[in-house]
């Protein structure tokens, strides 16, 4: 039996402050607190929540660029992420140079990038001549087209997308969503962070609602979005619930809860 594409078990991620000299301080903030979730192959999970709720931190932890402070993440297969518009591209390098380097960073070999090069450029819809321009000459939308095209052609088993689709025009957005559906049908699991509730409702199988770094609810898309919107769609972090800790392993909120018991 094939296991889930993603299994997150009691995930905590802390950001610690640093002194002026660069030393870590025993004070910080939990961006994620005790998250548990599972994502099966071929399923799409929407992650919604207010600003500072921990959505991007969750994606970064799953992508492997930050380490859990506590807990465990298990990923089956290759992860590809598009968590910011720059897609890791360098403004001074041409589109072509960025594609090759970005592809190798995603875990492809140079030969694989070369093999898929035509497909990537075709999907991006960019004029092949534009591939010789430095990225600085690209609009945000053009950069996104190239970044997204590369990511979806990297044969991911788990695709992480963070709000970036909002930048593309309607036609490219529709093309991206079709591509995401194709990937899903082929067994790729998708995790989408978005504030676009229509998109989440229509495209996601499940929704995880985050608040103050905690998983408030995980349910089917319609129920999850409805739950989120009931609070007016704005569930920004409550300053009193920032998850500030002064001792390793205990958040201020946890101590308050413990005190109340």
């Amino acid at each position: 039996m094939i296991g889930p594409a993603l299994a997150v078990d009691d995930l905590w991620v802390a950001y610690r402050t640093r002194s002026r000299f660069g030393w870590r301080q025993p004070v910080g903030r939990y961006a994620l607190r005790g998250l548990d979730l599972t994502l099966e192959r071929g399923r799409c999970l929407g992650v919604i929540g207010g600003n500072g709720s921990g959505k991007t931190t969750l994606l970064q932890a799953v992508a492997g660029v930050i380490r859990p402070s506590r807990g465990r993440i298990e990923v089956r297969g290759r992860v590809a992420s598009l968590v910011d518009l720059s897609a890791g591209f360098h403004r001074d390098l041409t589109g072509h140079e960025n594609l090759i380097i970005g592809g190798v960073l995603l875990g492809l070999s140079r030969a694989e990038v070369q093999d898929r090069y035509g497909e990537i450029v075709d999907f991006s819809g960019l004029d092949p001549e534009a591939l010789d321009w430095p990225l600085a000459a690209y609009s945000a939308g053009m950069g996104l087209r190239l970044g997204f095209s590369l990511v979806v052609h990297s044969a991911p088993d788990l695709l992480l997308v963070d709000e970036v689709l909002a930048v593309g025009d309607d036609a490219f957005r529709a093309q991206c969503l079709d591509r995401i559906s194709q990937l899903q049908e082929s067994g790729c699991a998708i995790m989408v962070v978005s504030h676009d509730m229509d998109l989440v409702r229509e495209r996601c199988d499940e929704v995880a609602v985050l608040r103050d770094g905690e998983l408030e609810l995980i349910d089917d898309a319609r129920s999850g979005v409805a739950f989120y919107l009931e609070a007016g769609g704005r569930r920004d972090t409550d300053p009193a619930e920032l998850g500030i800790f002064t001792h390793r392993g205990r958040s201020a909120a946890a101590r308050r809860r413990q005190g109340a018991q």
Binding site: I2, G3, R18, F21, G22, W23, R41, G42, Q60, A61, A63, G64, V65, I66, R67, P68, S69, R70, G71, R72, I73, E74, V75, R76, G77, R78, V79, S81, V83, D84, A87, G88, F89, H90, D92, L93, E97, I100, I101, G102, V104, L105, L106, G107, S109, R110, R116, E119, P134, V152, H153, A155, P156, D157, L159, Q182, L183, S186, G187, C188
Partner: protein
């Protein structure tokens, strides 16, 4: 082209846990992920020549400029009594300028690449390593040009039979420079003070290493300090081959290489131990 293959029975599983540490010495991944390292080197080389008329030529100009300057100041004004002072200076300045240029270039190699660091997990020490690798090209070009100049044009000539020994101090230099570059690149992520004092520290180090003077010209504590300095030994060994033309013993070059290799392994471990969650810092 589609994504994951539905017919696949199982995919490799990656586990990330709190407190998880990098396994092994990290030397194997330099080999197993050589394509990534090579790509980062290529990226750095391409960036080096962007928006500049002369790009890769500047690292060659710098030691030549210093050579002319120091030759005038110490050779003419202070009249340092060293035979063939121009050659003596040239052979000392070659490894030194490689160190300075590489360290300067690597210092912000992680801090200035937040997009790359947040893009995907990869060995971040590849970033300073790529910078050092790119700086190695003009260094080797200048070294070969100097050897040809000394061997073919200059009256002094060169002892061709001892020339292969230069591989030993060359490897020591590369390991030393890579070690320092990795550690400084990491330090710069946490504390930016070094950007402002690096030049001063390198100037002090420059005058502690016998580059413009002979090591026998200094006595007392300075001599003791320079004895413990690997750069002094490396420059001495470059001079043994290119200036003296004879090698008395292979022991010193081999010991220096062993010490620099040990320093490299230790630096790599320190880097891998501390370079956790840099995506949170940059």
């Amino acid at each position: 082209m589609t994504g994951a293959d539905t017919t696949a029975t199982e995919r490799p599983v990656t586990v990330r846990e709190a407190g998880q540490r990098a396994r092994g010495l990290g030397l194997v991944e330099v080999v197993t992920r050589r394509e990534l390292l090579a790509t980062l080197v290529e990226r750095q080389a391409r960036l080096r020549v962007k928006r500049t008329l002369f790009g890769i030529v500047w690292p060659v100009v710098s030691p030549m400029f210093l050579l002319a300057l120091y030759l005038f100041v110490f050779g003419s004004v202070f009249d340092v009594k060293i035979h063939d002072y121009g050659v003596y200076l040239l052979v000392g300045l070659l490894p030194w300028t490689f160190l300075v240029q590489s360290v300067h270039d690597s210092l912000q190699s992680i801090s200035f690449e937040p997009d790359l660091v947040r893009r995907a997990p990869f060995p971040l020490h590849f970033l300073p390593m790529a910078r050092v690798a790119v700086m190695t090209v003009p260094f080797l070009g200048l070294l070969v040009a100097s050897i040809l100049y000394l061997g073919v044009v200059h009256d002094r000539g060169i002892a061709w039979s001892t020339l292969p020994i230069i591989v030993l101090p060359g490897a020591s230099l590369l390991l030393l420079v890579t070690s320092i570059s990795m550690l400084l690149a990491l330090l710069d992520v946490f504390n930016r003070d070094f950007r402002y004092v690096l030049n001063n520290l390198l100037t002090v180090w420059f005058f502690l290493v016998p580059i413009v003077y002979h090591r026998k010209m200094v006595n007392g504590p300075v001599r003791t300090i320079t004895t413990a300095d690997p750069m002094r030994w490396i420059i001495d060994q470059f001079r043994m081959v290119l200036y003296d033309g004879h090698v008395d013993s292979y022991l010193a070059p081999l010991l220096t290489l062993a010490a620099c290799a040990a320093l490299f392994v230790v630096s790599l471990q320190v880097f891998r131990r501390l370079a956790v969650d840099l995506a949170k810092e940059v």
